[in-house]
Assembly symmetry: C2
Homo-oligomer: 440 residues x 2
C-alpha cells in the first residue's frame, strides 16, 4: 500500500485539552477507532494525555492519561498534535501559542478565540511551520472552513450568508411553528437543553458574530475580528414579527452575513460583516433550515451559489470536524507536509453598518386619519428611501401599517425610523427587521 512506501511509522502523539461533550467524543473515537485512524494517517495515532480541571473523578478513561497540568502536556516531546476543546480565551490562547511555539500542530474548535486572535495564532503556526486547523469552530460537522480556504481558493467569494447558531435557530423555528413569543420559546429551548441557563452568548448574537468574523476572514482574505461585526440578537423578535413576515411569504432567521461591497464609481472594495435577525423569503434555501440545524450559503464569482447543510453543534458532529482536522494534521506530520496557512493579503476595510445597503420591513401602529400615511411616506422620501410595499390593516387609532423598503443605506433607514418615532402618538414604530435574500 502507498502508505508503507515512505513516511515514518513513528506514532503520532495527541494531547486533548478539555473533556466536555466534544472532548469526550474525540477521546472515544481516538481509542475505539485506532486501527482505522492508523490506516488513514499511515502511522499509529496515540492519545498521550487529556488535560482536565480536576482529576480523581471517574471519567471512563485510564487515570494515567488525565492531568491537570495542561501547560506541561502541550509541550511534551511525545506530543505532536494538540486538540483544544476547552473554549474561552484563556487559558486556551496561551496553551495554543505554547504548543505552536514547540512545533506542535493544533486543532481547535474555539470560535471565540479564533474570532479575536487568528492573526497571532496563524503567525505562530507559520513561524513554527505547524498546522493550525479549526474546521469545528464554525457550523460543527459541516465542512465550511476547508471549502472556503481550499476548494474556493481559486475563486472570488462575494457573499457568505449563514445560519450558524443552532440555539437561536431552534428558538425562532419554535416561534414560527407554535406562534409562541420569544420568552416561551426560550424557556422551551432551555428545558430541552438547546439553550443554556444564561443564553446571552447565543441570543444576543455573540456566538454568531464570532463565527461571522471567522467566515469573513477566510472569504475575503482579510483579518476580521468579532469587534468588526455589527451585531443584533433575537430578544426583540416577537410573534407579531412572524405574523407580518408570513403575510409577505417570509420567515425570520438570525443571519450571519459577510459581503463584499464594490464602489461602482471607483471599483474600491470594502466588506460588510453583520449578524441580525432578518426576514427572508420562504423560498430562499436558508428558510427551510429549521431547529438546531445550521447552513451556510456561499456565493462566488465562478462557482455560483453553493450551500452546505448539517448539524451545527453537539458533541459527535463537532468531534467529527475535530477528527478530520486531526487526521490531516497527523498525515502532514507523517509526510512532512503542511496544510494551507492564513491568507490575509487583501486586508479590505470594513464598511460601517450605516453604509451598508439593506431593506427594512417595518411594523407601524398609526392613527388612521387623513394625512398620516402622507406624513409617514414623506419621512421616507426626505431620506431618498424608496418604498417597495405597504400594507394597512384595521382602522382607527390602532391601525397597523407594514412598510417594506427597497435597498437603501442603513443610516438613511435608521434616520427614518428615528424621525417616525419622533412624530408623537400618531405613529408608533412597533418593530423593525431587515429583509435579506431578495434581489431588489
Amino acid at each position: 500500500m502507498a502508505n508503507s512506501s515512505f513516511g515514518t511509522n513513528r506514532p503520532i502523539g495527541v494531547a486533548v485539552l478539555g473533556l466536555g461533550n466534544v472532548g469526550s467524543e474525540v477521546v472515544r473515537i481516538l481509542l475505539e477507532h485506532a486501527d482505522e485512524l492508523h490506516a488513514r494517517v499511515g502511522a499509529p495515532v496515540v492519545l498521550r494525555g487529556v488535560a482536565v480541571r480536576r482529576t480523581g473523578v471517574e471519567r471512563g478513561i485510564a487515570a494515567d492519561l488525565l492531568t491537570t497540568d495542561a501547560a506541561a502536556l502541550v509541550v511534551r516531546d511525545d506530543v505532536d498534535i494538540v486538540v483544544e476543546v476547552i473554549g474561552g480565551i484563556e487559558p486556551p490562547r496561551a496553551l495554543i501559542l505554547s504548543a505552536l511555539n514547540a512545533g506542535k500542530s493544533v486543532v481547535t474548535a474555539n470560535k471565540a478565540l479564533l474570532a479575536d486572535y487568528t492573526g497571532e495564532l496563524a503567525e505562530a503556526a507559520e513561524r513554527n511551520r505547524a498546522d493550525l486547523y479549526f474546521e469545528a469552530s464554525v457550523a460543527g460537522a459541516i465542512p465550511v472552513i476547508r471549502p472556503l480556504m481550499q476548494s474556493l481558493a481559486g475563486d472570488r467569494v462575494n457573499r457568505v450568508v449563514g445560519i450558524v447558531n443552532g440555539t437561536t435557530n431552534f428558538i425562532l423555528s419554535a416561534m414560527e411553528e407554535t406562534d409562541a413569543d420569544y420568552q416561551v420559546a426560550l424557556s422551551q429551548a432551555q428545558q430541552l437543553g438547546y439553550a443554556e441557563a444564561d443564553p446571552t452568548a447565543d441570543v444576543e448574537g455573540y456566538d454568531a458574530a464570532a463565527k461571522a468574523a471567522i467566515l469573513a476572514s477566510l472569504a475575503f482574505h482579510t483579518r476580521v475580528t468579532a469587534a468588526d461585526v455589527y451585531r443584533e440578537g433575537i430578544t426583540g423578535v416577537s410573534a407579531e414579527d412572524f405574523e407580518t413576515a408570513a403575510a409577505f411569504d417570509c420567515t425570520v432567521k438570525l443571519l450571519a452575513m459577510c459581503e463584499r461591497l464594490v464602489d461602482p464609481a471607483s471599483g474600491n472594495e470594502r466588506i460588510s460583516v453583520r449578524v441580525y435577525p432578518a426576514l427572508i423569503p420562504r423560498k430562499h434555501p436558508l428558510a427551510a433550515v429549521s431547529g438546531a440545524f445550521n447552513a451556510v450559503v456561499v456565493e462566488a464569482e465562478a462557482a455560483g451559489r453553493l450551500m452546505f447543510y448539517g448539524q451545527g453543534a453537539g458533541g459527535a458532529p463537532t468531534a467529527s470536524a475535530v477528527l478530520g482536522d486531526l487526521v490531516m494534521a497527523a498525515r502532514n506530520k507523517v509526510y512532512e507536509g503542511r496544510g494551507p496557512g492564513e491568507s490575509a493579503y487583501a486586508q479590505l476595510p470594513i464598511a460601517p453598518i450605516g453604509d451598508t445597503l439593506v431593506r427594512y420591513h417595518m411594523n407601524l401602529q398609526v392613527d388612521d386619519r387623513p394625512g398620516v400615511l402622507a406624513g409617514v411616506a414623506n419621512e421616507f422620501a426626505k431620506r431618498d428611501v424608496s418604498i417597495s410595499a405597504v400594507r394597512q390593516e384595521g382602522t382607527g387609532k390602532r391601525a397597523r401599517l407594514v412598510v417594506v423598503t427597497h435597498r437603501a443605506p442603513e443610516s438613511a433607514l435608521a434616520d427614518t425610523v428615528q424621525a417616525l418615532n419622533e412624530q408623537g402618538f400618531d405613529v408608533i414604530v412597533r418593530s423593525v427587521l431587515r429583509l435579506e435574500g431578495t434581489e431588489e
Copy 2:
C-alpha cells in the same frame, strides 16, 4: 506577511491540457486574476502553455502559448502543475502518468478516467511525491471530494446519496413540472443545450456511475471502478411514473447511491454502489434539487447527515473547482508540502445488486376479478417480500394496481416481478422503480 517569511518566490508554472468550456475559463481566470492567485499561493502562478488539438485558430490567447504537442508540454522543466481538462481515457491517462512521473502535480476534472484508473494514477502520484487533485470530477463547483477525503477523514461514512448528473436532473425536473414524457423532455433539454446530441452517457447513467465510483472509493477507502457500479438510466421513466409517485407524495430522481452494508450476524462489511432512477419522498432534501443543479448527501457516524448543494456542471463552476485544486497544489509546491493521497486500505468487497436491500414501487395493470389480487399478493409472500402499501384505481380489465414493498433483497424483488410477468394477461407489470430515502 506570512508568505514572505519562507518559501521560494520561484514562479509556479502551469500547463493546461484542453481548451473547451472548462479550459477556457481556467485560462481566463489564470490570466485575469494573476495578482490574487500570486497572493494566495505565495508565488507567481504563470501559464506556460495550453495544449489544443489544432493551432492557428483564433482563441483569444497569445499564439505562442498554444501547442499541439501535449506530451512535450507536460514534462517541460518550467511546468510544475498540469491541469487536464480534455476528458476521456486516452490521451489523458498517458499524459497524466507522464506528468506525475516527471514530478509534476496534476489537477484533473476527468471522472471517466478517475473512475477506472484512480489506483494507477494515485500510485504514480505517491511514488513521485506529487499531488493528484480531482475536486472538479464530481459535482462541478460543489466541494465534495475534499470534504470526503479531508473533513470526514476522522469519521466513518455510512452512506452517500447524490444527484450528480445535471442533464438527467434537468430532464426529470421538466417531466415533473410539465407532465411531459421522456422523449419530449429530452428534446427540450437538447434544444436548451442541457443534453448532448448523443445523450447516452448521461441518460443511461454512465456519467453518474463514474462519479458514484469516485465517491464510493473515497467514502469507503476502497478502490471502486465504474464496472463495480450497478447502473440503470432514465430512458424508461414515464409520465405515468411521476403521476403514481405524486400519489405517494414522492418524486423521481436519478440517484447515485453508495452504502456500507453491515452483516448483522458477523459484522462483516461490504459496500453497495448503484445508480438508478428512484422515487424519493418530496420532503427528502434531495427532492428539492431541481433543474441542472447537483447535490450530495453524506451520512457519517459522528457528523450525522450533511448536504452539499450547487451547480454541478458548466465551464465557470467546474473551473472554480479546478482552480481551488490548482492553488492548493501550487501552495504545496511553494511550501514543499503535499496534500493527502489515496487511502484505499479498507478494500471492502462490493455486494452484488441482488444482495442489496431496497424497496420497490410497482405499477401493475390487472384484470380486476376475484382472485387476481390474491394471486399477486401470493407472489410477494412466496419470496418473503412484505408489502407496505397497495392502491387500486379503476375496475375491469385495465385496473391499475400500485404496490409498494418494504425493504427486501433486490433478487427477491426481481424474482417477484418476473413471476408476475409470467402470470400472463391477468397481470402486466407496467413499471418498476425503487423507493429510496425512507427509513422503513
